[in-house]
Symmetry: C3
C-alpha cells in the first residue's frame, strides 16, 4: 500500500479546541480553494437536544458565511465511502474526525479499518480536502477509563493524519498557528 504512506499534499488538517473557531477557519479554506459547490461531510449524530442545537447552529453559521454552494453529506460511520462517492474534483470539508471517532467507538466499529478507508479515499482525490479535528489531550487526566481511552485514540488519529497531511493548522481563538 504505497499510497497509504506518502504525503497527501492536497489534505489540510485543522486542529483546535472546543469553540476555537476551527470549523469556520476550515470552511474559509475550502471556499478559498475554488468555486462551489463544495462538499460538507458531516459526521455529527444528534443524540439529544444539545447536540441537535449545536448542529443547527453550525449549519446556520455555514450558510451565513458562505455564498451558498455547500452540499451536505451525512457520514457518521462510513466516512471513507462517503468521501469516495463525492466527485474527485470537488473541494471537500470533513467536520469533524473526532465525532466520527466517537461514533466508531460507540458503534463498536473497526477503527483501524475505518482510518485505512478514510486515507485511501483522500489519496484518490484531486481537489483540496480539509479535515477538522479536536485536540482533547491538554487538560488534566480524566477520571474515567473510557474518557482516557477516547483521548488516546483521538490523539493517535490526529498524529496519523497530521503526518500525512500537506498542511496542519492549530487554531487558537479563531486564528491559525501554522504547524506544517
Amino acid at each position: 500500500m504505497s499510497t497509504a504512506d506518502g504525503l497527501l499534499s492536497s489534505v489540510t488538517l485543522v486542529l483546535g479546541g472546543a469553540r476555537s473557531g476551527k470549523s469556520r477557519h476550515a470552511e474559509a479554506l475550502v471556499r478559498g480553494a475554488g468555486p462551489g459547490p463544495w462538499a460538507y461531510v458531516a459526521t455529527a449524530q444528534a443524540f439529544d437536544d444539545e447536540m441537535r442545537e449545536r448542529i443547527a447552529r453550525h449549519r446556520a453559521d455555514r450558510e451565513a458565511t458562505g455564498p451558498g454552494g455547500w452540499r451536505t453529506v451525512e457520514a457518521p460511520l462510513d466516512l471513507g465511502a462517503a468521501i469516495a462517492a463525492e466527485p474527485a474534483a470537488r473541494p471537500l470539508l470533513v467536520d469533524c474526525l473526532t465525532l466520527w471517532l466517537t461514533n466508531l467507538m460507540l458503534g463498536q466499529r473497526d477503527i483501524a479499518a475505518g482510518i485505512d478507508a478514510l486515507e485511501a479515499a483522500l489519496a484518490a482525490r484531486g481537489a483540496p480536502s480539509v479535515l477538522v479535528a479536536n485536540e482533547v489531550g491538554l487538560g488534566i487526566v480524566p477520571d474515567n477509563a473510557l474518557a482516557r481511552a477516547f483521548r488516546d485514540e483521538a490523539g493517535r488519529l490526529n498524529q496519523r493524519l497530521a503526518a500525512r497531511a500537506g498542511r496542519v493548522h492549530f487554531i487558537v481563538a479563531g486564528l491559525p498557528i501554522v504547524v506544517k
Copy 2:
C-alpha cells in the same frame, strides 16, 4: 457602530492555560509599554480561601516583579465602566476576562451587553490595553452541561476579542507564541 467592528490596534490579547505564566507575560507587556502608573483591572472575586490565596499570590508576584506603580481597580462585573473611568493615556491590564465571564454568568448578567461595553471602552482609549484570558477548550468534553456552556461562552469571547485585537499571544510555559 462602526467602531465595534474595526481593529483595535492598541489591544493585546494574552491567552493561555492555568499557571501558564500568562499574567506575568501580560504585566511585562504593560510595563514595557511606557512608564507607570499602570492600571491593573482585577476581575477576581474571592469566594473561598483558595481563591483569596490565589489573588494574594498574584498581587505579591506583581509587586515583586514591577517597580511599583500599579494602580489596582476591582471590576468583577462592570468591566467596561471600570475601563472607561481610567485615564485614556494610562497603560492598562485586565486580568482576566475568563473570571469576568464567570462572574457575569453566576450573576445572571447580560453577557452580550457586557462585551459591547468592554469593546466600546477599549476603542475609546489611546494607550495600550492588555487583556488576559484563559483557554479552556483543549481537554475532554466536561461531564456537566454548565461546564460545557461556560466553555462555549469562553471560546466565543476569546474568538471575538482575538478578531479585534491588534496582537494575540498564546502562552505556553511562560513563553509566547505570537498568533497575530
Copy 3:
C-alpha cells in the same frame, strides 16, 4: 547558586498533551544528537494494569523506532541523582517530568528540593538533555482540589524549566511548534 539561574543551552523541553507524540519527538531529538548509547530516564511507576500496559507500549515504540542503544534507568523519585549518575557526555532523555511530579506529590517529597537537584544535575552535564513534560492546564477547571493543586504545580514546573532550557518545543499531533 549562580548556575541555578543561567540558561542551560544543552537542555530541550518538549511539552505536549496526552498522546501528542511528545515522547517520539523527544526520542528523535536525542537520537539525532549523536551516536548511542543514549540514556532513557523513566519516571513512570506502574500502579495498575493500565499503567503497566502504557509503559510496555512506550518501551516497544522506543525499541521499534531506534536502532537500539537505549539504556533505561528507572527514577520515579530521585531524578537529580539518577541524572548525575549517568556519564556526562551521554545524550539523555527524561520521560516524563509530569509523572515524576506526581510521584513526588504522592510520596510527600520536597518538590522544591527535587527541582533544585534536577537543575543542578542538568547544569553539570555536557551532552544534550531532552525533558518531556505534559501540558495539563488547557481544559476546564477540575472539580477537585487535588487536581487543581497538581495542575498548578505542573504549570509552575514547566514555566521554570522552560525559562532555563535552551530550546522549548510544543508538540501538536506529533509536530513541533518551536516556542524557544
